[in-house]
Every structure is written in C-alpha cells, then in structure tokens.
Amino acid sequence: MTVEASRETQTPVDLVTLSIDDVEVSVPKGTLVIRAAELVGTEIPRFCDHPLLEPVGACRQCLVEVPDAGNGRGFPKPQASCTLEVAPGMVVRTQVTSPVAEKAQHGTMELLLVNHPLDCPVCDKGGECPLQNQAMSHGRGESRFAETKRTFPKPLAVSEQVLLDRERCVLCARCTRFSEQVAGDPFIALVERGARQQVGIGPSTDEQAFGDRPGADGSSGGAQPFHSYFSGNTIQICPVGALTSADYRFRSRPFDLVSTPSVAEHDACGAAIRVDHRRGTVMRRLAGDDPEVNEEWVTDKDRFAFTWSRQDDRLRTPLVRDPDTGELVPASWPGALAAAAAGLREAAGKVGVLPGGRLTAEDAYAYSVFARVALRTNDIDFRTRPHSAEEAAFLAARVATVQDVATRDLETASTVLLVGLEPEDEAGTLFLRLRKGSRHGVRVAAVASHTTRGLAKVGGELLTARPGEEASALDAIQDSDGSADVGLDARSVVLLGERLASSPGAFSAAVRLAERTGARLAWVPRRAGDRGAVETGCLPTLLPGARPVGDAEARADLAAAWGVRSVPAKAGRDTTSILRAAARGQLRALVVGGVEVDDLPDPALAREALAAADFVVSLEVRESDVTRAADVVLPVAPPVEKSGTFVTWEGRLRPFGRVLDVPGSLTDVRVLAGIAEELGAPLGFRTTAGAMRSMADLGPWDGERVAAPDLAAPEAKEPRGGEVVLATWRQLVDDGRLQDGQDRYRATARRAVLKASAATLAAAGVEPGDVATISTDLGSASFPTAVADLPDGVVWAPGNNGVHLRGALGADHGSTVRLTAGGAS
C-alpha cells in the first residue's frame, strides 16, 4: 500500500485579479469575494455563508463596499461578499478600509442581536460561538434595543437527538440548506414568515411528541421528525447555539475540553473526526475537515456512536479459564499471555485465526504476521460475514494495494455504478460525495433489488437484479448488444459492495464489465478495518502487500523481510472452513479478534466450533459470545485508547493518534507480540509504530498478481411457492454493538419495514402496511410491510433493526425465506 492517494486532476484555471483593501490578489474565476478576502488575510464576518453550501446572501453580515465592479462603475450600495463573484479589476473595500462596510456590518450585527437572548453563560455554544465571537470583533459596544425580545417555548425537539432553541436562531438557514442540498433530507424547513420565521418540522411546529408516527422511510406520510442520518452536522454548522445535541446539552464547556483529531471507526470511509474529552471521558465527537475524504460532514453514527467502548461489559483485565471451576477468572497480563501461548503451543499446527474487520491496519498486520510466523499457518480470514473464494481472488487481484478510485472522483466521474452497495447505509460520507456529484451531473445507476431512498436522492437509475443474480445483471450492461447502456466509460467508476460475496459470479462479472467499458472498479466494504486486513494479508490465500500465498517468490520475499526461514506455502482455510474444521476437530484452537458470532455466515456453526475447539483465545474490547466461550480473554484497546491507521475503501491511509491515555489498555499488536514472544517466535515489533515501520519496509508486491476470477453468471433460480428471495443489508442506524449506549441516536433509526412488490405481498395474502413474517427453519422475523419496486418474489428487510436476520434466521442477502401474513405464531 502506498501513502495517500494522489489523483487530484490539475486543470488549468483562469485567474482573475482584483483589489481588496488595496491589496491585489489573483483568484480563480468564479471565486466569491468573501473567500478571495480570506486570501489577503481579511476575515469578513458571516453567518449564512458556508463554503460547502450554495450561496444564499440571507444574513447580510458580510457586506462590503465595491467602488468599482470592474467595469468602472461601482455598486451604489454595500454588497454581500458571499454572493458576489470576483471580476477583473474589481475594487473591494471591506470593514478594514471602508467605513461604509464597517457601519453596514455593525448595523447587521446589532439587528441580529436584537432578538438574540443573553444566555451565553448557559448556552452550549458559548465559547465556540461565531455569533459571540463576531459580536465581540465586529459589533457595537452596546445595543440601542431596550424592548422585549422575541421568545419561544424552549426547546423544540426536532428529533430525539437534535433540539432547537428557536430564540437563539439567527435564521441563516445553514441547517435547512444542509439538509436539503447535502443530505437530501429536508425534514426541517423554514416555517412561518417575517419576524416569526423559524426552523421547524411539519405539520405542527409546536408538536414535541412524535408518538408512534412512522419514520422517514415509513410507508405513509405523517409528521416527520428530523430523522436524517446526517442530522448532527446541522448542530455543528449552526453558527449559534440554536441546534444542540440532546446528549451533549449542558454537559460541558468548550474550554474544558481537550480536542484530538481522529478517524471514525464505523465504516470504510475514514471520515476525519474531532474527539473532545474532559478528564478521560469523551464528551462529544465532531466532524473533522478533510476535503479529500469527508469534507466537513460525518454520519450521525460517526458523531454520536462513541460510548460503545465504555459500557458495563467492557473488559478491563485478562481472564483465564480456571481448569477446576470452568470459570473465567481475572489473571495478570504475564500469566494470561503465558496461558495463551501454552494453549496455542499445545494445538501447534492446528490453529485458525479470525481477526475480524474492525482492526487498524497495524493490528491486522500483527494478526497476519502472528499467523504466519508464530502459528506457521495461512488459516486466517478477516471476513466475518458471507464470503467466497471468488471474492478472495477478486480482493487479491483487484483490491490489495490498488488505488484506482478516490472519493473526489465521485464528483467528476461520468457515471457511478453501484453494485450490491447501499452507500447511504453502508458508507455514509461516500454517499454524501456521491450525492454532491449527482447534483453536478454525475450519472448514478445501481444494480440492486429496488429503488432505495438513497438511490432516489442521487437521482439514480435502478438496474433491477434479484439477490444472487447480480452477475447476469452486470453481464447485461453495455454488452455486445449495446443494451442496458448506463454510460460507462473510462471516466466511470463501479463501486462493489461486500454482499456480492454471496452472489456467485458477481465479482467476475464486475471485472468483465470493467474490462469491457474501461470503467474503474473499487470495493467498498462496510467495516473500518476490512481494507486494511486485505492490505495486510489477513486472508488464507494472500500475504501482506498483495503477495500471493501461492507465489514462491512472494513468500521468499516476505520471509527475508521478516527474518524467518520460510512462510507457510499451503493455502489456508477461509472463515467458514476454519469454523467447520474447528467443529470437526481438524483445528484444535482458535485466535479470535473483534468478532460477533451472529455476524458470521453461519452463527450455529460458529457456536459449535467455539464449543468444540480445545482452546480459544479472544482479543476483545467488550464481553461477547466469543469471550464467554474463550479460554483466555485478552482485553484490547478500542480506537479511542490507541493510535493506529485505518485504510479506507480507496486504499487511503488514515492514521490517527490516541485520544485517551488509559494505563493497561493494550493494542492487539502488543498482545499478539507478547504471545508470539512466549511462543518463541517474535513478530519483530511490539508497537503500532513498529508494525507500521515493518509494513512500510515491506512495501507492495511488484511481482505477478493473482488472476482475477472469471466465473460465469449462475442460472436464474425460481423460488418455490410460498418462498421468496431475501434482499438485505445493515442500515446505518441499527442494533449493531458499536452503537450501544446511544439511545437518543438509536431512536432516530428508520422504521424497520419489509418491502416487496404489491404482487408479492398479495401472493402471501398481506395487505400493504400490515405485518408480515419471514421465516426459515431456524427462526422468524415480523415487520410492517410497504410496497416498493422490487421484482416479484423478492422481499427486502433490514439486516439488524429489531431482529438480527443472520443470527435469528440464518438468512442473508440471496437466501430463500418463507413469507407469511401476520406476526410470528
């Protein structure tokens, strides 16, 4: 892997020269005066202006004098610099050199403060408030307004998570514009008129209780609270304290907080965040600013879901199973490491490794080296969800060390084709960039089961595919018949989701499509650690840096770098094979990282394997089904307590530093290094930095790569009577454990609804809106229903919203399930 994708296209720009406060400056044509002024060091005060929102010119705070518009004539009145584009020869005078501009700004500021309460001492925004700051720097000393201020009953809950104090609002409309323009979720809007204008939700602005109203994704209309996956961004861009987080409200003062830049751990986007803590407790998280990755936006999950690592079930000390009582009992670190090593030594040659997909690249690398050097095996697989050999081949051939597509490309691509990927749910900040692209002319199409809200928001075309039949749909696009043309060419991007692993031939068909059209491919997994695990070789057939296990030269290269005699040559088992082998006694021990049993492709098999294995070592943050079954439990640090690097879906490295210094909170690197040393086979590093150095020294493989898979699309299968094919994925806000502890945030989840065509529902005797049940031999799940444009015989249900489909039904994307009317019997 290489450092930082650098795909910025350098197109020549026309420069315009103008004068601002008597300083000449040249800026690209189309630049707004307010931003040109920043280049000469003048900060013009502003509220409604935001560089990522369309100019609106509403607050009138940024007025400047323009004695010459560039045509020899001046504007007779002050101009809003946030809406005025530069022109050659233009002369601009800001508050720095123009008494007129200064007076205009003072005047606006005074008017803004006329109805603003004097509650700064109790306001969350106090201390980091643009209004407060600019009132100090650009305001009059005192107000001439002595009358009664406008008041509202406070606060209005626009959602369970976001509160609105209307009297503080300066009506800049940043929040409503963000929701409409960026998120595509206009659930808040300006309501009323004139001096009574305010932000509200419909239909009644004073309605505080939402009752059991259906959510944004529900089937019927109704009062819609601000249930946007991106709602928290409005809190952050609010230039006053009008929008606040229900969780954070009155909890802290900005000057009490220590801020640390970091990277969000919830998806593969690598969104920059800022983590604010006070005396060892994280109080809130904010979006960081990274134009290449997330601009200034994060998902609500990135922002609000940070208490998962401080739940009561957090593991604080190593545990070792007492051979006499059979109970897990606390142990010292040296004792636990020794016990782990002893158990693994006992099972030598028969150990499987399941690192999971949440690791930093350094931790994943430690697992990869640990398997090969300390355990002498390739039985390692990070994939804790359905997977296939085809997928592994695809990852080795077309993903590891490849950086063909960057987030920014989604703004300039001719077409973006989504396959088996629902970015709004699975990669939120990628979705926002895609939406930005679609608003600027990027064509979007999706091979999917139905038109989702997310697809509609990017104006996407649906290329309907039944789950499991994505391959034929891909083969039909721009084939020799020229049919199904979605405009794919060398400027296009095809984004592949991880659930294609359960659709035979899909990755192969995607490769064929790319070769046919010249479009670039990228794989967008769900988890923050997935791509890093690919890069570091946490796969049975792939070694770090895209080195094929089957390539002797690659193994020799690696052995030399690691200072070991050899690297195992035999291809390893994948996750399912490892579990099956453990269940059958062919593998005797398991080393398991952050893995939820219900996430595994066959949870029942996993439980069987955990029970059957002689020895299980678990490296976990919190108690889980794995830790409860383990013989040695080694508590490891959550991201907030360590440094590390996530690798984004683009292949971009996203290093982050430690936020909280918690003594005894160890990284996976450190723990695995300790066991390896006990085993007498040291990893060659003990620290995150050391792991990174080792990876960097290793570099990417420049030899021959694994061939891309080329499986044919399977024949279409007709489900039997009463059965339907399941389409499913995890929604952004759901019951995932990394969202534990955030009840208000969880309350903003979309309502769990089963979607199907009218004919499918009718065939099962279900009235749209009524409850229906899907079931397998293992279990069932019931949902209210809604009609959507799915193909007949297919239903969609959320993966883990109320019911964990894989855990409860053993059902996945592409599974066959029974559909019946009514609730579970």
Binding site: N71, A189, I201, P203, T205, S220
Partner: protein, 268 residues
C-alpha cells in the same frame, strides 16, 4: 354548516388534488391551489391536509408546513362560515377602517382572527386589498364591500349571520368562505357574470373623458406605419443592447427601491 366535525380528505378530494397537479408543468406548482382546496374541504389547513399534499407531491411535511405557514390566507383554526376582513392598512384605516374594525369587534364580541360563538363570522384585519379608491373597504370571503361605515358594516354582519342574501359591491352574491376557497383553488362556480363590470370609482376618469370628448389619439391607418423600418433598426442595435443587459438588470435590481410593488417588481 356544522364546524364541529372536520370532513376527511376523501377519494374525490384526492382526485381533485391530483387534477390540480396535472395543470402545471411541474406538479409542485399546484401546492398553493391544493392548500386552498384543503381549506375548502376542511375549513383550515389541517395536519391531514399537509400530510396529504406532502404525500401526493413527494415532499416532506416540513416543506409543506413551510409553505402553508408562509401565506396569510391559509388558516390553522377552523374558520367561520364567513370571513369578514376589514382593511386597516394606512389609507383605509385613516378613512375609517380602524373605526369600522373597532365597531365590528365590539358588536361581534371577537378580536382579530377570532370567530363568533355561532361559528358564522371570523373577523380579521386585512392588508391593502387594492381597492383604495373605494376606501374604507371590507371584504367578505374576499368579495369587495366598498365605502363602508361602522353602521353599514354592522348591518352587513347582521345580515350575514341571519343568513340573508348579501350582494358584494363589485362581485357576486356572497356564498361562504369555503366556497370561495374552492374557486381560488381553481374550480369555477359559475358566478363570474354576476355583478357590475366596474364600480363608479373605476370609471371616474372614463366618465370625465366621455363628458369632455377626450380620448386617445386616433389609430393611424396601415399606410402610415413605419413598423418595418423600425424593426430593421431595432435588430441592428439588439446586439449592442444585449451586451449591456446584465449591467442593466443589475442596475434595476440595485437601484429600484420600487422593486416590490403591488403587482409589480423590477419589470417592464
């Protein structure tokens, strides 16, 4: 008409809402008429009405609420059978509108935007209704009642409450506020031919001109026309003028404090 029970938005109304949507190149343009129709059916803009419009147009309820609360003709409380508006904008107020409002308020025992106990009359102060030459002006269900006095206004509301027929000064026989809203939504009621073409004030200048034999100059015969030449000249200058158009438009936008006008704007 009973106001205790709000009729639901039934299928017939939904069909009419869809019909309104079909009258425009883009369906959302029908939102104002649709809200008028909701009022005609339900007596106010109800939550149900907002939700129905949102669903039909693919909008959020916040977006529809934003529109419904922006315009003063949309009412959030169930209205009386008749909406009596008293113009209390400056000219009408000075000419007697304030006195009329006070008198009506006393007589009906209601304040601004309130409805009489019998549900017959909602009283409202209204802004200038473009009938200044008939000041002081009242409206009943948005029909004009010109040159009113406190006495005539009291008589008017008494007749309305008694269910007696009332003829607008320049308009039709008074029906009801809901019926009026239905017309505003876009459904004709066959009353366009009622009432005069114009009131006396509208004809003031015309009458004098007729008396004195004044008129616009006679229209020249076709032979006198130099239209063709002028067209040619105009084409020559068109390009030069086009170059300046942004500047001129901006100048208008910038310099015209009269930009917001009754029925007017920076227009030509």
């Amino acid at each position: 008409m009973s106001h205790d029970v709000t009729p639901p938005i039934d299928e017939a109304t939904t069909a009419e809402l869809r019909e309104l949507m079909g009258r425009y190149p883009q369906a959302r343009s029908a939102l104002l008429p649709m809200l008028h129709l909701v009022q005609a059916v339900q007596g106010s803009v109800t939550s149900e009405g907002i939700e129905t419009c949102a669903e039909l147009l693919g909008l959020t309820t916040a977006e529809v609420s934003g529109v419904a609360t922006f315009y003063t003709m949309y009412k959030r409380r169930t209205m009386g059978t008749h909406l009596v508006g008293v113009c209390t904008n400056t000219l009408c107020a000075v000419m007697g509108g304030d006195a009329i409002f006070e008198r009506l308020s006393d007589h009906l025992d209601v304040g601004n935007d309130e409805t009489t106990a019998d549900g017959q009359v909602t009283l409202e102060r209204i802004e200038c209704n473009a009938a200044c030459d008939y000041a002081p002006v009242l409206t009943v269900n948005w029909e004009f009642l010109d040159r009113q006095t406190p006495e005539s206004a009291v008589d008017l509301v008494d007749r309305l409450r008694a269910g007696e027929p009332v003829q607008a000064s320049r308009g039709a026989t008074i029906t009801s506020w809901r019926d009026a809203e239905r017309v505003l939504a876009g459904f004709e009621d066959g009353r366009a031919d009622e009432g005069p073409s114009a009131g006396d004030a509208s004809l003031a200048g015309l009458r004098i001109a007729q008396e004195r034999g004044w008129s616009a100059p006679p229209i020249p015969t076709v032979a006198d026309s130099e239209t063709a030449d002028e067209v040619a000249r105009s084409k020559e200058t068109a390009e030069a003028e086009a170059d300046t158009r942004r500047a001129e438009d901006e100048t208008v936008a910038e310099e015209s404090a009269a930009d917001v006008k009754g029925g007017g704007s920076a227009d030509g």
